[in-house]
Symmetry: D2
Subunit: 363 residues, 4 copies
C-alpha cells in the first residue's frame, strides 16, 4: 500500500492481510490470525492482532491506517475492523522486506550502492495492540467492508498511472541516453523501440487521467469518487505494460546491462584506464557515464517497484478483472446487439436499453 | 475520412490523396495528379484536379471539404489547397468501394443481407472542378499545410475512441449473447475472454477521454485543441486492440461462425426443421436467434469498419508513431535520468529540466 | 475437419457434433440428437442419427468418416460410435455454410469473383442412416472414445502448421507485392512488418516440424504417433498468430484494401482511365495489378480459412490448453525447483525426479 | 557467449567485441582497439589487442576461443582474426560483471545467498597477447568473417531453446509450488496462467527442435549445419517470451515476492515464531518453504540469465530479424501470390517458382 505525507505527518495505508489459505474466508482459516481481527473489547478501545503485508514505506511513517482487505460475511465480523495508530504503539513490529540488489548498499558505493533508491516494503505485525475508540473507524460492521475495499482500491489503482508512468519516463530517458552513448539513437529500429516505450507509458497515463476526469462528486460530503472502470483499466495496463517497457529498454541498452563491471573495478587504478577505453561508446560520453546509466536502468527496470509491484500493487490482476467484469453492463451491450440483429428484447427485462447509473453519485 | 451531419447539411472531410509513389513529394510524382492540385487560376476562383481516397460515407453527403494530406515545400505550392464544394459540382465523380460481404445485399435477405450495415467508403475524383474564391480556405500557402493536417488528424484520431469502442460494445454484446445461447457464459475461460474484450475496449475509450479532457482552449477563437499525445495514443490503441477483440469474439462464438448456413437454407421448408433442431443451443433460444447473432458478429468483427479502418483511419499506425515521437520530450526524460544517476546536465542545454509548453495555447 | 484425397477416393473426417447445451454430456442433452448416436441395431448393421458441423470440403468428397467428438461415460454409450459411409447414402444431407464474400461469386467476375478460393465448410445431417457392420469402427465401446479423439486431434493440430503457414506465405507474398507497388518495400518500418510476419509464420511451422520429428513409432502396427505437446503448441500458435499476420498485412497494404472499387467499375469505359491513373502506385505496376493483389489479400487475410478456422479448427483454443496442461509434468518441474531451493522431496512421492514416459510407445 | 566442457577442458567462445561507436566499422572507430585486432606479426605467431564482452563463465574456463563478431571489408582485415588461448596467457585480464543480488552472497546465507546460482558473465581484455601460429584459425582472411559469425551464431541461437526453456521449467515448477502453498493451484485463473507459461516455454523448445532436426549434413566434413530460419526463430522467441513467463510467475507468486523478509529475520529468535505464523499458507507447507521458493523465483525470473541474456545472447533481436529477412524467400512468396491473383510472372525473373537451395549442403 502507499504512504502519503500531509504537512508533517507521514501515513501508510495497510490493507493486504497475510491471508493464510487463499480460498478460505477469514473466519474459516486454520490460523485465526491470518487476517487482522479484534481479540478483545475494553472500556477505552479494542485490542487487535494480525499482520498486514506489502506496505510501501512502512518503516518511516508516523501513522498507519489499517483497513479490511476483502468483503466479509457475518461470521467474519471480528475481522471487519479499521483504525489508525502511531507506528510506535506498543505491540507493533515492522519487518522490512528484501528488494533486488539491496545487498549492494552495504558496499557503500556511489554508483553500485543505489543512491537513488530509497523505497522499501514491509510486513506490519500487530501483537495484541490496543486502539482507543476515537481511532477506530470500522468495528464489526461487516456489511461495509466490501465498499471500504472498493473505494480505497479504485483510488489506489488510478494512482498507479502517475507512479508507474513516472518510473517509465525515467526508464525511457535512460534508454535514450544509452542509445546516444552507443551512437544508435537515430537508427530506425531503436526509434521504433523508443516510440513503443512512450506509447505504452502514455497509454497507462491516459487511462489514469480518464479515471480522474470522469470522477463523480459525492452528494453528501463533496468528495470525489474516481471512475471505477477507468481506475481498473489503468491498473490492469500497469500490470502488463511495464514488463514490455523493461524488455525494450534492455534491448536498447545492450548486453552490457547484465555484465557491466562493478564500481570497485572502475575505481581500481590498474583497471580504470582499460575500462575507460573499452566501455566507452561515442567519444562525447565517458565510460563512467555509461556505467552510471546502466546501473540506473538495472535498478529501475528490474526493480520490485516497476515489475512485481506493478503486478500486485492495489490488488492482483485478477482483482481488477473481477471489477471490470462487474462494472461493465453486459446486458445492455447484448440488448443493443439483439436489436441490431433484428431480435426482440428478452422478456426477462434484463436486456435493457438504458445504461446503469449509480444512484448515490452525480457528475 | 469521417462525415458529420450538422442541421440538415451532411459533410465529408476529404484528406487522403491517392499518393502514387509513396516515397515522392507531390511535385516529384510521375503522375502530376497523384495529389489534388490547382491547375488554373481564374477571376472568380480556381480549377482543381486529382482524387481523394477512403472517404467514409462520401456518396450520401451534401458537401465535401477537401484538405491537404501532408506537409508541403515551396515546390509543392500548387498542392497546398483546401476548399468545400457541393457533391454535385460539375466534374466531381464518386466511385464507391467494395466491402466485405457486399454481394449479399443483392440477395435481399433480412438476415444475410446485412440490414444493419449502411456504411461505405469511396474514391472522390475531381476532374477540373471549378471552386469559387469564397469557398477556398487554403491557396498555395504551403507553409500551413502541415499544421492543417496535424490539427485535423488529432481530432480525427481522438474520435476513433468512441467510434471503435462503440462497435466493440456491439461485438462484446453479441459474444455475450452467443455464450448464453451455448450455455457457457459462466465458464471461467469464457468469462476471462469477455473480461479481456471489455478491458481492451475500455482502454481505447479511456485514452480518448483523456485526449478530450486534456484539450487546450485556443486563445483567439475560443475553440479547443485536443491533446496531441493522447489523441495519437488513442488511435494507436485502435490500430491494435480490435484485432484482438475480434479474435476473442470468434473464440467464444464457436466454429459455426465460419460455417453457418444461409438464410435461404433456414427458410427452406425441407431444411428448416433440421436446422432448427441442430443449430439450437440451450432451449431458451432458437436456431434463428443464433444465426442472426452469428451473422451480426461476422459482419461487425470482420468488417472494414472494425479492422482495416481501425488500422488506417485518420492515418496509418506509422503516422501516429511519428506524432508520438515528436510530442514526447525525450531530452527532458534523459535529463531526469542523468540527474538520478548522479551526472551533470549536458552542456548543450538540450537536457533541460522544464517541460515543453505550447506557446499558442493555454489550458 | 479436413478432407484428404487418396488415389481416387476423397475423404472427409467428421468429428464436431452440434453439441446443443455445451455444458451437458451427450446423454444429458434436452435434444437427444445433439450428438450423433445409434438409434437402432439391425442384423446387418446400425442406424445412426445426428449431425456433424464445420466439415471442410464436405460437399465434394466420396466418403465421410464419422468419429466421436469427446470422452464418453457409460451412460453415453450410444454416442460412442464411429463409421464410414459414402456421401450419397440415403438419409445423408449436406448444408454448405456461407463464407466471407461468397455473394460475389454470383457476379461471375474474374477478379472480384474469388476465382482462387474453392474451399467450403458444411453441416452433415444424418437422418436415420443405415451403416453396415463392416463399416462400423466403434460401437458403444465408450471407454475408447477419449483416445479416439485425442489421437485424431493431435494429428489434426500438427497439420495446421503447414495449412496456415502456407496461407501465411501467400499473405506475406501479397503484402510484399503491394509494398513494391507503392514503392515502400525498402522503408524500415515496412521491412520490420514483413519480417515480423515471417517470424510469426515460421514459428508456427517450426512447432509443427517438432511435432512430426518427435513422433513416436507405435510398437504394434508400425504407425507413428505425433508428439502431443508440440502438436498442441502448434495449433495454439495457429489460434493466435494469424490475426497478427493479418493486421500487419493490412497495415502494409494501405487503406485502399477496404475501399477499392469493384471489377465492374474498373472495366467501365468511362471510369477505367481515371481508375488506371489514380490507383497506380509506381509506374512499373498497373492499377489492375494493384486491384488484383488487394482482392487476393482481402479474401485470404480476412477469410474463414485464415481467421475463424485458425481459432476453431481441430478444437478450440481451450481444448489445446487442456491438452498442454495434461501433458506437461508439473510435479517434476516442482520437484526440481524444490531441490534447487534446498528443500527435500515431498513425502507424497508425486514430486518425482524422473520424467513421465508413455508405456505404449517408443521413439 | 557460452562455455562448454569437453572431457577435462572447459572452453568459452568469445565473440562480442566492445564495439565503441556502433554505427562505424572496426577500421573506422576513433578507438582503434574497439574490436580485437592484430597489432604485430612475428615469426612464431601474432600479437593481438582488444576486448570481448559478455562472456558467460569466462573466469572458470581453461581456454577461450576468440572469433570475429561481424562481417568485414578489406579495410578491416586486421580485425578478421580468430584463435584459441589458455586463460592464463600473459596479457589476458578478466573483469567479472555484476549480476542481480550478487551483494547478497557476501552475507553467507543458505537462502538469501543464492546457493543455486553460480553463473557469471565477464569482460575479457587482451593486452598485446601473443598467439602462436598453430592456434590461429583466421588471419586477416576478412572475406570469411561473415560466414564465421553466421555459423556460430545460428548454433548459438538454436542452443537457447534448451537453455531458456530449462530455466523456464524451473520457474514454472516454482510457481506451481507457490500456488500449492497458497492453496490456489486449482483456481481457474491460476491454471490459465500456468498453462500459458508452459505453452510459451514449449513453443521456444519446439522451435529449437525444428532447428536441429532440419539441420543439413555438410558434404565435406560430415558435420551438421543447423537450420538457419528455425535457429533464428528460436532465439527470437527467446528474446520475447521469458518476460511474459516471468510476469505470469510473479502474478501467481503474490506480492510477497517483492517484500519477503530476509533469512536473517527468519532466523531471529524473536521474529521466527511470528514469521512462521504469518508467512505460512496452507498448513502442509512451512513459512521457510515459502521463503525458499520465493527467493528461488526472484533469482531466476529476474535474473540476467533469464531476462537480459534472453534478449542479447547470441546476438540482439535485430540481428535475428536481419537473418530471418535474409533467409526467407520473399520473391517466391510474391510469385505464388501473383499466380493466384491471375497475374503473370514478372519479366525480371526474380519472381521465381522454385525455392532457393543452399548449394554447399544437402539434407
Amino acid at each position: 500500500m502507499k504512504y502519503v505525507q500531509r504537512n508533517d505527518l507521514a501515513l501508510a495505508g495497510a490493507m493486504t492481510d497475510v491471508k493464510g489459505v487463499r480460498t478460505l474466508r477469514p473466519s474459516e482459516q486454520p490460523n485465526r490470525d491470518a487476517y487482522v481481527h479484534v481479540v478483545e473489547e475494553k472500556a477505552g478501545g479494542i485490542v487487535v492482532r494480525g499482520a498486514k503485508a506489502n506496505i510501501t514505506g512502512v518503516a518511516v511513517v508516523d501513522e498507519v491506517v489499517v483497513m479490511p482487505t476483502r468483503a466479509m460475511t457475518e461470521r467474519d465480523a471480528e475481522y471487519a475492523v479499521s483504525f489508525a495508530i502511531p507506528l510506535d504503539t506498543p505491540g507493533v513490529k515492522v519487518v522490512v522486506g528484501r528488494q533486488i540488489n539491496d545487498g549492494r548498499r552495504l558496499e557503500g558505493g556511489e554508483i553500485d550502492g543505489l543512491p537513488y533508491m530509497f523505497n522499501h516494503e514491509g510486513l506490519l505485525i500487530l501483537e495484541d495492540v490496543f486502539v482507543p475508540w476515537e481511532r477506530v473507524f470500522l468495528y464489526k460492521e461487516w456489511r461495509w467492508a466490501a465498499q471500504f475495499v472498493e473505494v480505497f482500491s479504485n483510488y489506489h489503482r488510478q494512482g498507479y498511472a502517475g507512479c508507474k508512468s513516472g518510473l517509465g519516463d525515467v526508464i525511457i530517458g535512460t534508454a535514450h541516453g544509452l542509445a546516444r552513448q552507443l551512437g544508435i539513437a537515430d537508427k530506425p529500429h531503436v526509434q521504433e523501440k523508443l516510440t513503443e516505450m512512450v506509447f505504452l507509458n502514455e497509454a497507462i497515463y491516459s487511462a489514469g487521467l480518464a479515471a480522474s476526469w470522469e470522477a463523480r462528486r459525492l452528494l453528501k460530503n463533496g468528495g470525489w469518487w474516481v471512475d471505477p472502470m477507468y481506475a481498473n483499466v489503468t491498473k490492469h495496463l500497469v500490470a502488463r505494460f511495464p514488463y514490455e517497457v523493461a524488455k525494450l529498454s534492455h534491448d536498447i541498452a545492450g548486453g552490457l546491462l547484465g555484465t557491466a563491471p562493478s564500481e570497485a573495478d572502475l575505481k581500481n587504478p590498474e583497471l580504470r584506464p582499460l575500462l575507460e577505453k573499452y566501455l566507452q561508446g561515442v567519444p562525447e560520453f565517458t565510460a563512467e557515464e555509461r556505467l552510471r546509466m546502466l546501473r540506473l536502468l538495472e535498478n529501475t527496470s528490474l526493480s520490485v517497484a516497476y515489475l512485481v509491484e506493478s503486478v500486485h500493487g492495489a490488488g492482483s490482476p485478477q482483482a481488477q478483472r473481477i471489477s471490470i467484469q462487474r462494472v461493465y453492463d453486459f446486458q445492455r451491450a447484448e440488448a443493443i446487439a439483439r436489436r441490431l440483429a433484428g431480435l426482440k428484447a428478452e422478456a426477462s427485462g434484463d436486456a435493457r436499453a438504458e445504461p446503469r447509473r449509480p444512484a448515490e453519485a452525480e457528475k
